[in-house]
Symmetry: C2
Subunit: 308 residues, 2 copies
């Protein structure tokens, strides 16, 4: 049984490979060629922790994967990172475990950034973009990098709820900061929201016609980044319908009956068929993270590292 | 990240440690001190395979575990075993993955045998037993060994559906074979059923008053080892109520309304409080395998192997 370290994984998980795996997996998922059982959770309230277990398989792929991901949010008091985790990669022909990818959660971070950039690229207006990134965490930092790999960016503007966190981006090359979220939205062609917010980050009126928004923050029930009245008028795209109905940004509006789930397009379908953007429309991609994407990225890395 | 091999695991998983861990976990489970989310499944029909992912945590324990277990039932054509799998053992304080137990499914086999022996020991009539084992697979072989560790056995009699498979036990020391299942039941004080049967293995009338039966075979919906009319008159014990209602031997009778789930006692409660056996009653323990037991056994082994 081979255990691949983060150093090995970083070398194998080139952005090109990650983009290709994520794109193929999203298309397979839209075509119902995936098995993605509902994730399993354990809770450790005494240590402010949780564990998520997600299995994923793209029908016909040589492997399937099981991802174990933990978040213990008081770990910083011990000088430890909050997130840990690994992938188990097993053969879909014999059930043998082929490799462990001891990735400390980085493959999930990269696939999330890659899916967000793919969504923005296919859904936003053509040409160089002014990208607003709302949020100051890891995904906010990765969004700037990974979007730039797919599209020329005229400006990248960071904004957020906490000015001191935004200020920490002041010296990051190629990035500006905005004093308020509304200031960033006022000039943006495309927006990535990557916060753990439980209430809308801005008013619907702050978004210019023609803007595309990719929302990646809402990963648990109760989280919400976008105002419902924006979602009722926007063109809606999601990576997985069931998950967004359970805990994505569209969940609240769909449950309240303001959003018709049948109008939501799947990101994989748009990536396969392309997207004709109504010029003044606002588009919203709500990404909750699909187990099939985990499986595809882990498989690509494991095969590159020679698990066979 | 430490990967412990099967050789190491075999040395650490002494029967005493396994019995103690299984017993404590069953009691914790009966006292609702466990987190056992429903298992996740993937299916690989093209290779006659399936994968099960089971998370388990005993509240307050230093670790939690995620078990990945696969069964690919055509592997023998490739000269490979059908079952593979491993445990991920992680800290319940920090979420860090502490160890991988690369056990090829053996810990599951041992904990199943241990739970069966514990159930038979506490529920059967006192004194040396004549034990009938119905089934000829791995669990049938383990049942003889593990029951003998807890209780003096006067005779061990193997019977089953396929005479040629029963015949393979002819030269196993300390074991007899019976020509039919009914022959074995006619002399047994205690019975273990360990088959993959989908229909009752014998008629209710074949079971003598005072017999105890431990059923471990029904691990998926559709499997059934015992006749419903036996279950409606027997004293019923289960390791987990929800699971036995979903796919245990009691499932069919409970769903059809012949069995009242409120009369079923939990094995952990009986192990904690003891059991006063009505002398002529037939008792049935229906074991489906609890994730908390996996967690306890894997933790015991991982701690012994020094994962901290």
């Amino acid at each position: 049984l081979k255990v691949h370290t983060l150093e090995e994984i970083e070398l194998a998980a080139t952005p090109n490979r990650v983009f290709e795996a994520v794109r193929a997996a999203l298309i397979a998922h839209a075509e119902a060629r995936t098995q993605v059982p509902p994730p399993t959770h354990l809770l450790f309230p005494q240590c402010d922790g949780d564990a998520h277990v997600k299995a994923g398989y793209i029908v016909g792929a040589p492997t399937f994967t099981v991802k174990v991901a933990t978040g213990f949010y008081s770990n910083h008091k011990l000088g430890l990172p909050s997130n840990h985790g690994l992938y188990v990669v097993a053969s879909s022909q014999t059930g043998e475990v082929l490799a462990i990818l001891d990735d400390y959660g980085w493959l999930t971070a990269w696939r999330t950034a890659a899916a967000a950039a793919l969504a923005t690229d296919v859904l936003s207006r053509p040409g160089p973009l002014t990208l607003a990134i709302i949020g100051t965490g890891l995904q906010a930092r990765l969004a700037a990098e990974w979007h730039r790999l797919l599209r020329p960016l005229r400006r990248v503007i960071i904004a957020g709820r906490r000015p001191e966190a935004v200020a920490s981006f002041a010296r990051v090359p190629g990035v500006e900061t905005a004093p308020t979220i509304a200031d960033a939205l006022a000039v943006a062609d495309a927006v990535v929201t990557a916060t753990a917010s439980t209430k809308p980050l801005f008013a619907a009126a702050a978004v210019r016609p023609g803007t595309h928004i990719t929302a990646v923050g809402a990963d648990l029930p109760g989280k919400q980044e976008l105002p419902v009245d924006l979602l009722t008028t926007a063109v809606l795209i999601a990576d997985d319908l069931e998950q967004t109905l359970d805990h994505g940004d569209l969940a609240q509006g769909m449950r309240a009956g303001f959003i018709d789930p049948t109008v939501v397009r799947l990101l994989g379908q748009v990536l396969r068929d392309g997207f004709e953007r109504p010029s003044d429309a606002i588009t919203v991609a709500d990404l909750t993270g699909v187990g099939a994407v985990d499986a595809a990225v882990a498989e690509t890395v494991a095969l590159k590292l020679g698990c066979h």
